[in-house]
């Protein structure tokens, strides 16, 4: 029996989230059993590199492709390439502006942006001052999460946004930025909205280094990376888990399904975990993996999955 | 007669130090005008200002009676002035023809370059001058002397009315110099004006018909060469009475200093043997390209000989790199100070100390007092003219740069001194001083091997002379048993 050749094209593999995502693919039962031959292509954070990799996969006649594009719009050209070669593409993590996408498994970044801002605003009582640490300007996640942030902030007109800058998802950059903000706005910052955990952690380090009391700050991040789980456990921040495993394995199930032209039952356990996201015979266009706020109750359990 | 150039009160200073205080001269059509002066007198600075390479601080320049202001060499070229600079300035990765016609490439159709025509006319030019160089060769593959010839050809190719020649013969041989003089005569006959700078007075008396002397950046006097004799000119240049003989005080001992046997390097030199005793000055004469420099390169570990043995103090040594040669007491004053002699961006002091760093840092840290002392000592010994010894050597006049190279190697107190054209670009006064220093070095038991293209120098200084021809020795002769004619004869 011919193996099914599936290619995964994440936008980049240097950061922890996508690393977990890629690792989850390798742990999918169909890959482990050898039914599927999986190759992961590192998009190196460049839309064009991803597009080129699609061409490479088309040349090699892959049966299906899992795609986490760097950008909503720029992903469309890549999908077109695959469609021209008759290869189904399953989106994961980041949407693609294309009708040609077979289906998409991901979590809506606008929601998480709203959720994290809301937690911060609730904690500071809908008054005071906040700062926002943004992702690389123009990246889809940054745009959507900011949209969510702004939506929540609109509900609290008394809250002032003191600063709003990009730290490019980077902990070190966020740390520097926060050090400078703490100087420029002494004793004025109440909340820190970090669009991802790395930057939130950087802000925490800056606060600690300045000798300030973390308790007088509310810091929020998104993604639920390991360091953030530890920080949540220590009561230093809040975070929202974006389930990389579910996004990856869900997409892989859908990819196999598409490759086998419907002759397939999903094998991942994530369908059982998320009752809100039913398989529906693989016919849905969009599968929304729910966001899970990290809490004192579930943090130990989550940490256990990171061994 | 018409004045091609008339200059008055030219001034120039670099960072507060005056290089030229009062430059003056008049160039008539159809004359060869010698510009004389000691090292650092301001000759090159003067010419560079006239060429538009430097700006001036004050003074006036009149070209055919009209006040001019050259913002760049392009302007000077456009008004019919060309220059052979003292410091060679080749574009190494271009062909000879491209170097000669740089900025004036013959055009072909569609705005391209007509390479064929360019190569042809460059080759024609070189052949006319009887320079043995192929126009299609890469500049970087030429020897210093050949590069100098290309610079000469380039200046002549400009068809300029005024040509400045700043020490055009310092790196080339006798034969090529005569070809240059022939060309100068032709230009003179066409009514052009040539400004000729050289420290070789015999050349000046041979080719020039008028002179101007600078001293310490200022005009001293001028006149027709017919009205002055050699001692008179020297007096004007150095500002005091001075005789010109070679100060030779050494007497060879019987102990061998350096012995070379059957040294060969493919395509460069073959079967070179000689032995030099302590206290002896051994001269090597030859035409350019005869392979003299190559001998030194092999001796000093800069090139790998294919065969041969070297003995220092009677014991055979193996030399793979300059550091080995230095460890055995050898020192090499190279012929090309810019390429292999100096770190132009660094200070005079650092350059003087460059070959003695381990000796001056017994504990890894530099002994700065010793560095300063050494630098002061060498500057006095060779009378190096520099504003400060922390100034970069690039700001020194050519002759003074040469003295820095000499100082660097004398500082090492070598046993064997290898000198390749040691007085290149050095003025009459300093030359005498250098001869005395070399001679003293030999008298105190040092061994000297000296390459020179100046017959007077070789004959005046050497105890014995080896003549090189096409990579082989054409014989070795005692000082008394030879003369200029036989040297030239043997070398061709």
């Amino acid at each position: 029996q011919e193996k099914i050749k599936i290619g995964a094209a994440p936008y980049g593999l240097n950061a922890e989230f996508m690393q977990i995502w890629a690792a989850a693919l390798q742990e999918h039962p169909a890959v482990k059993s050898g039914e599927v031959e999986l190759t992961v292509f590192d998009g190196r954070y460049d839309a064009l590199v991803q597009q080129d990799q699609f061409k490479t996969m088309a040349t090699q006649k892959y049966n299906a492709i899992i795609f986490a594009p760097i950008d909503v719009d720029a992903g469309a050209a890549a999908v077109q390439t695959a469609a021209d070669a008759g290869i189904p593409v399953i989106g994961s993590n980041t949407r693609v502006n294309s009708d040609l996408l077979t289906s998409y498994v991901g979590s809506d970044d606008t929601i998480s942006g709203y959720m994290e801002a809301k937690t911060v605003l609730d904690k500071i009582g809908c008054k005071g001052n906040v700062v926002i640490l943004e992702g690389p300007i123009g990246q889809s996640a940054q745009i959507s999460r900011l949209e969510g942030n702004k939506k929540a902030l609109a509900e609290c007109p008394d809250v002032k946004i003191l600063e709003d800058q990009t730290a490019n998802w980077s902990r070190a950059e966020a740390q520097t930025l926060m050090e400078n903000w703490l100087t420029a706005h002494p004793n004025q910052i109440n909340g820190v909205i970090g669009q991802n955990d790395e930057m939130a952690l950087g802000a925490i380090e800056a606060i600690k280094a300045a000798g300030l009391d973390l308790k007088s700050f509310t810091v929020a991040g998104i993604d639920g990376i390991t360091d953030a789980l530890h920080a949540v456990k220590a009561g230093e921040m809040t975070s929202i888990l974006q389930d990389a495993r579910a996004q990856a394995q869900g997409a892989l199930d859908l990819a196999i399904f598409a490759a086998k032209k419907g002759d397939y039952k999903p094998q991942s356990d994530i369908w059982a975990t998320y009752k809100d996201m039913p398989w529906k015979d693989g016919k849905e266009k969009i599968y929304n993996v729910p966001w899970t706020p990290v809490t004192a109750e579930n943090v130990d359990q989550l940490l256990a999955t990171r061994k | 007669m018409e004045l091609l150039l008339e200059v008055e009160g030219l001034k120039k200073s670099f960072g507060g130090v005056a290089a030229l205080r009062d430059g003056r001269f008049q160039l008539r059509a159809g004359t060869v005008h010698a510009l004389c002066g000691g090292n650092g007198a301001g000759k090159s600075t003067f010419l560079k200002i006239l060429m538009g390479i430097f700006g001036r601080d004050a003074g006036s320049i009149r070209r055919r009676g009209k006040e001019v202001e050259f913002a760049s060499p392009a302007d000077a070229l456009a008004s019919g002035i060309a220059i052979i600079e003292q410091e060679l300035s080749p574009v190494p990765h271009m062909s000879v023809a491209e170097n000669i016609y740089l900025g004036r490439e013959p055009k072909a159709r569609f705005g391209g370059i007509d390479f064929r025509a360019m190569n042809r006319s460059a080759q024609g030019l070189l052949d006319d001058l009887e320079f043995d160089i192929r126009a299609t060769q890469y500049m970087m593959n030429l020897s210093v002397a050949q590069m100098q010839l290309v610079e000469i050809a380039k200046a002549l190719s400009h068809d300029a009315e005024v040509i400045f020649m700043d020490e055009p013969t310092s790196a080339i041989g006798e034969r090529e110099a005569q070809h240059l003089f022939a060309a100068i005569r032709r230009l003179q006959a066409q009514g052009r004006g040539i400004v000729y700078v050289s420290h070789r007075l015999s050349e000046i008396f041979q080719i020039a018909d008028s002179y101007t002397v600078f001293r310490d950046g200022a005009y001293v006097g001028s006149g027709a060469l017919g009205d002055i004799d050699r001692p008179g000119l020297i007096r004007m240049i150095v500002g005091r009475e001075m005789s010109e003989e070679f100060a030779k005080t050494n007497t060879p001992t019987s102990q061998p200093g350096i012995e070379v046997a059957a040294l060969s390097c493919p395509n460069k030199i073959a079967d070179i043997s000689f032995s030099v005793r302590k206290g002896e000055i051994f001269g090597i004469y030859g035409l350019m390209g005869a392979g003299r420099t190559e001998i030194f390169n092999c001796l000093f570990g800069l090139d790998k000989p294919s065969a041969g043995s070297i003995k220092v103090d009677g014991t055979e040594v193996s030399i793979a790199k300059p550091a080995d040669a230095m460890a055995h007491g050898l020192a090499l004053v190279t012929e090309d100070r810019k390429l292999t002699g100096l770190n132009l961006a660094d200070s005079v002091r650092a350059n003087i100390c460059m070959a003695s760093l381990p000796e001056m840092s017994p504990t890894f840290a530099m002994d700065r007092a010793r560095e300063a002392d050494a630098s002061r000592g060498m500057r006095e010994k060779f009378q190096i003219k520099a504003a400060r010894d922390t100034m970069p050597v690039s700001g020194l006049s050519g002759g003074n740069q040469q003295k820095v190279v000499l100082g660097k190697w004398f500082l090492r107190n070598p046993k064997v001194l290898l000198l390749d054209e040691p007085t290149r670009g050095v003025d009459v006064g300093a030359k005498r001083e250098i001869y005395r220093i070399i001679s003293d070095f030999a008298s105190s038991g040092g061994t000297v091997v000296m390459i020179s293209s100046e017959i007077d120098e070789v004959l005046g200084m050497s105890d014995r002379i080896m003549v090189m021809r096409a990579g082989r020795s054409a014989g070795t002769f005692g000082r008394e048993e030879t003369n200029a004619q036989s040297l030239v004869h043997l070398s061709t």
């Binding site: 593999l13 190759t39 992961v40 292509f41 590192d42 954070y45 460049d46 839309a47 064009l48 590199v49 597009q51 080129d52 990799q53 061409k55 490479t56 088309a58 040349t59 090699q60 760097i70 950008d71 909503v72 719009d73 720029a74 469309a76 050209a77 077109q80 502006n97 690389p136 300007i137 123009g138 990246q139 745009i143 | 060429m51 390479i53 760049s72 060499p73 392009a74 070229l77 456009a78 220059i83 600079e85 300035s89 080749p90 574009v91 190494p92 990765h93 271009m94 491209e98 170097n99 740089l102 900025g103 004036r104 490439e105 055009k107 705005g111 391209g112 370059i113």
Partner: protein, 334 residues
């Protein structure tokens, strides 16, 4: 056997020419070896489709690297190309987008307008760097690093930090179209290469570039206008970066503000691998093209073989160095 040999040596290049080629472009040998190894180890590598892919994937870096060659030959460097790619890409895109949210009012305009404006933006950036370097003697590294930062900032300001999507099909053609079965970007690269080769090897301006890089003093005393020559090479590099930016947006179908990050490294790498010296005056645009192809082939080949990305990075590092080492051996060894 021997007959075969004879035939070979009468191939498309005479043996003398071949010897010269290898001597001049030791890197060409490295390229051939790389291609040979990949052909043997992957069945897809030498398929027509994949060759077209590799060329397509090389086109943008190739265009940038050719522009960079001009600059590096004069002893300069242009770090800003990546940012100029983004700026020109987004500005030109805003003139040819059919999306109402992005773009300036009234877009899409005719494709020629978009192309012209993209080129102009690139040329303007190059001109600014060029003036700073040539007139004010600011080291090229600093001047173009400043432009790297400034052009990226302007990209974000211009687009409000958002991508410009939905480019018109006419515009996208330059990135996705075909001419006689050859992808349009490859044809564009070929044209850029041919013109650049001609300029560098056959015109006065080309000679001036080599002279200014090889010995600025000699160039000046020969009456060459150094300021103008230096200025011109930055304009060329900027213009080609503008072109590359448009190719990039046309290929991806949308202009991203974070496009082109770190492209300068790949462009300079192609130049240096191709044998052009960063100290100026030596090098050939043919070498640059081979350098760009080596990088393209390497990326493509490692992806084809499905080598894990982390190991790919280690391998790439080793391969780049290895290729140049081979070249050095040829040049200086024996």
């Amino acid at each position: 056997m021997s007959a075969g040999d004879n035939k070979n040596s009468k191939g498309w290049l005479g043996s003398e020419q071949r010897r010269l080629l290898i001597q001049e472009y030791g890197i060409f040998l490295a390229f051939l070896i790389l291609v040979a190894v990949l052909s043997v180890s992957n069945e897809f590598f030498l398929t027509a489709g994949n060759i077209s892919n590799v060329l397509l994937q090389t086109s943008i870096n190739g265009v940038l690297a050719i522009g960079m060659t001009f600059v590096v030959l004069t002893r300069g460097i242009d770090l800003s190309v990546g940012s100029v790619v983004a700026l020109a890409g987004i500005v030109s895109a805003s003139f040819v987008t059919s999306s109402a949210t992005a773009g300036i009012s009234g877009a899409p305009y005719p494709v020629a307008l978009g192309l012209g404006i993209g080129l102009l933006v690139g040329i303007a950036c190059g001109a600014i760097s060029g003036v700073i370097v040539s007139r004010f003697s600011v080291p090229a590294f600093v001047a173009t690093l400043g432009m790297l930062s400034a052009a990226r900032g302007m990209t974000l300001i211009y687009g409000g930090g958002r991508p410009v999507p939905a480019l018109t099909p006419a515009f996208r053609w330059i990135g996705t179209g075909n001419i006689l079965g050859i992808p349009a970007p490859v044809v564009i690269l070929a044209v850029v290469f041919a013109i650049s080769w001609w300029i560098l090897n056959r015109t006065r301006f080309g000679r001036y570039i080599y002279a200014v890089g090889g010995n600025p003093h000699a160039a000046r005393t020969s009456g060459i206008n150094i300021t103008r020559t230096q200025f011109a090479v930055y304009v060329i590099s900027g213009g080609l970066a503008g072109l590359a930016g448009m190719l990039l947006s046309a290929r991806t179908g949308s202009a991203l503000p974070q496009a082109g990050i770190a492209y300068e490294l790949d462009a300079i790498a192609a130049v240096v691998i191709g044998g052009t010296s960063l100290s100026g005056g030596v090098g050939r645009v043919t070498g640059t093209l081979i350098g760009a192809l080596i990088i393209g082939v390497m990326n493509n080949g490692l992806d084809l073989m499905g080598i894990q990305s982390y190991y790919q990075q280690v391998l790439k590092g080793a391969l780049i160095v290895g290729a140049v080492m081979l070249d050095q051996k040829r040049n200086y060894g024996a």
